[in-house]
Amino acid sequence: MERIKKFHLGKTRREKLITFGLVLVFFGFIEILQATGNLSNLLKGQLVPICAYVVMALSLNLTVGILGELSLGHAGFVSIGAFTGIVIAQVLRPAIESNGLLLLIALAGGGIAAGLIGFLIGIPVLRLRGDYLAIVTLAFGEIIKSLINNLYIGLDSKGLHFSFINDNLRLLEDGKKILSGPLGANGLPRISSFIGGILLVLFTLYFLYRLLGSRLGRAILAMRDNAIAAESVGINITRYKLTAFTMSAFIAGMAGTLFALSFSSVNASKFNVDMSILILVFVVLGGLGNLRGSIIAAGLLTVLPELLRSLRDYRMLAYSVILIAIMLVTNNQILVHWWTQRKKDLKGLFTRLRKSKQGGEG
């Protein structure tokens, strides 16, 4: 993968505040719409998935933008988080009354499970480079999908039962199936809430900004920019890569739990290559390493198909054309040059204005 010249990390305090503010303004805006009854039902159903996609995009940005490794299997980690979260939520539902607490525990569980798998996969995989790494992550994503698609989990008074490929759980009378192979998980408690989603987005942002400002984050950035130079000043490449990859999987797992628990039924086929690619599209469109960009891109592109609904059958076609057009315009040398020139002109104008103002006063 080619290195992108300058990454816009937005590490200054002001940049961070703008990003946090953006999320809060969005939250406030939606709450006002909801209170005044102006929120369409379609959009209402999209609120939690939007938050989940935003967190997925942020987590993939850690791998692709900040660590600089292309991953095409992110949906695998999302999937592990989703189904771990489902199992935890179903098992603990009778014991815990508060939905918020239940969601919190499920999120933690989903994240830890995905992080663990990310760690185990990362050990062999991160030795590969570029497109080979991409294809192996894609392969792992497909393997995870295939395994979960053949997994049966049931719960009865004796505890959890697992079976693989064939459904022979042999549940007791009081038992119920949590996961039934290709049919997926049904009758889920829809405990994910919009506010929970926003809190997860804020937590992820805080986490990533803290990471970028820390010693670990600086080591990761140094590694991305020049691995050999980083190694020569004593940065343990394998260890830091693995840490970043595990963290990315951990966050993706939490996003998966949030996502799954906002629906009443989910199956593993949903978390396929297309989903991994969709998240990658968010990250690239938002700008590699640019956290605010990921948030905006994920939010807009999730809503875009809904906004294009009036085009009916042509909406996905329009979506693809918009996607291609954005890539062509943002990578057009002439247009980019023109835009930077205009920005410079504008900046110059402001400085001149300020100076003339000061001059007038003095």
């Binding site: 993968m1 080619e2 992108i4 692709v64 292309l70 062999p124 995989v125 030795r127 590969l128 480079r129 497109d131 080979y132 991409a134 294809i135 192996v136 894609l138 392969a139 792992f140 497909e142 393997i143 295939s146 395994l147 698609n149 053949n150 490929i165 050999i228 290559v273 690619i277 990658l280 599209v281 690239v284 469109l285 590699l288 059958d313 042509y314 996905m316 076609l317 979506y319 693809s320 054309v321 996607l323 291609i324 890539m327 062509l328 943002t330 990578n331 057009n332 040398q333």
Partner: protein
Amino acid sequence: MSFLSHLINGISLGSIYAIIALGYTMVYGIAKMLNFAHGDVIMVGAYVCFFALNAFGLPPVVSILLAMLVCTVLGIIIERLAYKPLRAAPSLAVLITAIGVSYFLQNGALILWSASPKVFPTIFEGTIRLFDGQLTIGLTTLITIAACIVIMVGLTLFTGKTKMGKAMRACSEDKDAAILMGINVNRTISVTFAIGSGLAAIAGVLLCSAYPLLQPTTGSMPGIKAFTAAVFGGIGSIPGAFLGGILLGIIEIFAKAYISTELSDAIVFLVLILVLLIKPAGLLGKKTVVKV
């Protein structure tokens, strides 16, 4: 005897993967991009052939040639409109554009031809019986294997002997040096796309002859598997794509027959991962040394 029959089926499926993988690997070798839309060009080729056979009643050979023509033109148009403006852009930007093209083709097909699956007609009828009828092989299977071998030999000769083929190799070796030698790099890349897309049409017809359900998403999974096959053999290498495709087909059929149908995809990908961990550049790939 069932072993032999599985082996032949595996080679046949592998031949289809190999033909698709050739398209991926040639484009990657020269333009250094993963053309995610390749799988969907296969689907378009299959649809064109389907309509030529069913709606216009053209003879099979003409239908296949028509499908190749349409796909070749489509490949050139895609390259000109979507990829050519991005020659200098980072590879991820090109990757996302390719994904956009893939969405475009799938959804265009959905509008033009609807989501309901179409049953692809049998083009090559007949079976061959060997060993007193213990082993039956469909004609489609044999033709698929033969087509793959012909294409392989043809491409090897083309890249080895012709002027255009030499230009292709030069471009994949060092683009800047090729320009200095007076090679028209842009035209070479366009020709590569044209050849890859034309091959995709053949692969589409063969794929649908073997698995006769045709719908707008038909191309995506074989596309991804062929892409893994190309990586498996060492991306950028033509014999590698052939070897990777055939091996992937055999592994898939054997996994389906002897281990588990549900887990066959997982097994294929697991083998891929193991191979890449032992040989990080694929079976026949060149190992690049990074110099400081």
